[in-house]
């Protein structure tokens, strides 16, 4: 695209909303119906939140996480206490945003950030369930499900992250011209994921 780097705030917001909505719809109508072994499916919304936080930083990460979580709490087949995903995704968005600032040091960080984000998100969600006494979040279920879920998340992460970076590339470039420090980790991250996808 040759369009000039527009003042990106509106565009960024729109892109973020679009990414989250698409991730949510894909999650409930495609991913959750895949008959994967173990009956567990990757959490695309969590991955999208992590990726957006890594690109845009902690502020966008946590606001996006909160709103995406709230949407995931009320989207039709959901049947848990409202606010659980909002809490979890908000925290994960914030933490991954913080991590993105450190990312220009080591090249392995992005990959671990996604895995750690997936692990932390799944565990936190399970913990909120246990605190609330949710009969579904018993230890037997959780211990069987969490490792599988994290595995699926890690497998699915390159695709989601690639898609998110692809969509947000324009705004990142605009930022680099303004000298924003966030552009460095994002570019590094993109290079990293591009290499991963080529394998």
């Amino acid at each position: 695209m040759l369009n000039p780097p527009e003042t990106s705030q509106t565009g960024r917001t729109l892109t973020t909303v679009l990414v989250i909505v698409v991730a949510l719809i894909l999650q409930v109508s495609v991913a959750n119906r895949l008959p994967l072994p173990g009956g567990v499916q990757p959490d695309l919304v969590l991955l999208a939140v992590v990726a957006l936080a890594l690109v845009f930083g902690s502020m966008t990460g946590m606001v996006t996480g909160f709103l995406a979580g709230l949407a995931a709490d009320i989207i039709p087949p959901a049947d848990h206490t409202i606010g659980r995903y909002a809490l979890v995704y908000c925290l994960i968005g914030y933490l991954c945003g913080i991590a993105s600032a450190e990312m220009d040091r080591q090249t392995v960080v992005p990959f671990f950030a996604v895995a750690a984000g997936a692990l932390a998100g799944t565990v936190l969600y399970a913990v909120t369930g246990m605190i609330l006494g949710d009969p579904r979040a018993q230890w037997g279920t959780v211990s069987g499900m969490v490792p599988l879920q994290v595995g699926y998340d890690v497998v699915a992460s390159p695709f989601i992250v690639w898609a998110v970076l692809r969509v947000t590339r324009r705004y990142e470039r605009g930022e680099r011209s303004r000298g924003d420090r966030l552009s460095v980790p994002a570019a590094r991250y993109r290079a990293m994921s591009g290499r991963g996808g080529g394998l």
């Binding site: 719809i25 499916q41 502020m59 049947d79 995903y85 279920t141």
Partner: protein, 337 residues
Amino acid sequence: MKDTRRTRTVLGVLLVAALAMITVDYRGGDHSPLSGLRSAGAAVFGPVERASASVVRPVGGTFDAITDAPGEKRRADRLARDNQRLREQLRSNRLDQDRSAQLQRLLGTAGMGGYKILAAQVISAGQGFEDTVTIDVGSRSGVRADMTVMSADGLVGRVTRVGPATSTVLLATDQTSSVGSRLEDSKEIGIVQGSGRRGLGGGATPLRFQLLDAAAPMRVGQRLVTLGSQGERPYVPGVPIGTVERIDASSTGLTRTAYVKPFVHFTSLDVVAVVVAPPKTDPRDAVLPAKPAPPPSPSPTPSPSGSPGGKKKKGKKGPKTEAGGTATPSANPSSGG
């Protein structure tokens, strides 16, 4: 630094908001003040899910149909286009055929029990720990909360929440679901509880049956139907649930526990039906498939014989060894429709 402080403030506000919502919704239970939010979610996302389901369903077949045809000859172009159109017609016909076959089976099953049903299609599934799905009928089609949902094979679950065009179904495998049920050919009753599909390995069954009378006879291979709730809600009587796969020998409590293999494949739900009116009379065992039905899924034995780890010896007993004398379900002439 200022930025960090602002970020932290916002983080704090958002976390408090989330915690407040959790508290309010948790304390409120079924009558939570936030249920309006859920209705809003159903109203907003329901139509989107319906639309996306109609896209996703044929997309697998349509991918290869969209081939580029940039040939230089106009005739070839036209032929290719015709060809593609015809092929897509054929394909959609085949999809319709598939769907109509499922519907026909469904009607057959419902007719046997005398249930009045409303056919629906599963359009999305739940996330996290819950076993829930969304179907594409809602209050506009006359669906109300606490109606039984079944498929051609047996019990699927019950409607928990109804939106204008969609409704949420709690599957029988969910850990919060419990269904009053009855062993076939007997009056022994018990409770079928879901143990969740999530995180289960290959051998584990997603349903657990508690027989209330610990002394009552129960065999591997015996089948279960719903008992019917009071006022026929949420569960109507006579819907097949599953087959007893193994019996927990170690339980010494007041009840006996068995593990049940459901008739319905919960991972590939497609066409289902909401029972909008219960049958006039209890269909008893009439809806169960004919006795030689087990062969399609003939291996309730979880492990091949000889594996030393198998602690359940009873699992080795095949279902065919049991008495087939009372085999055919009593042809209960169901007057209803």
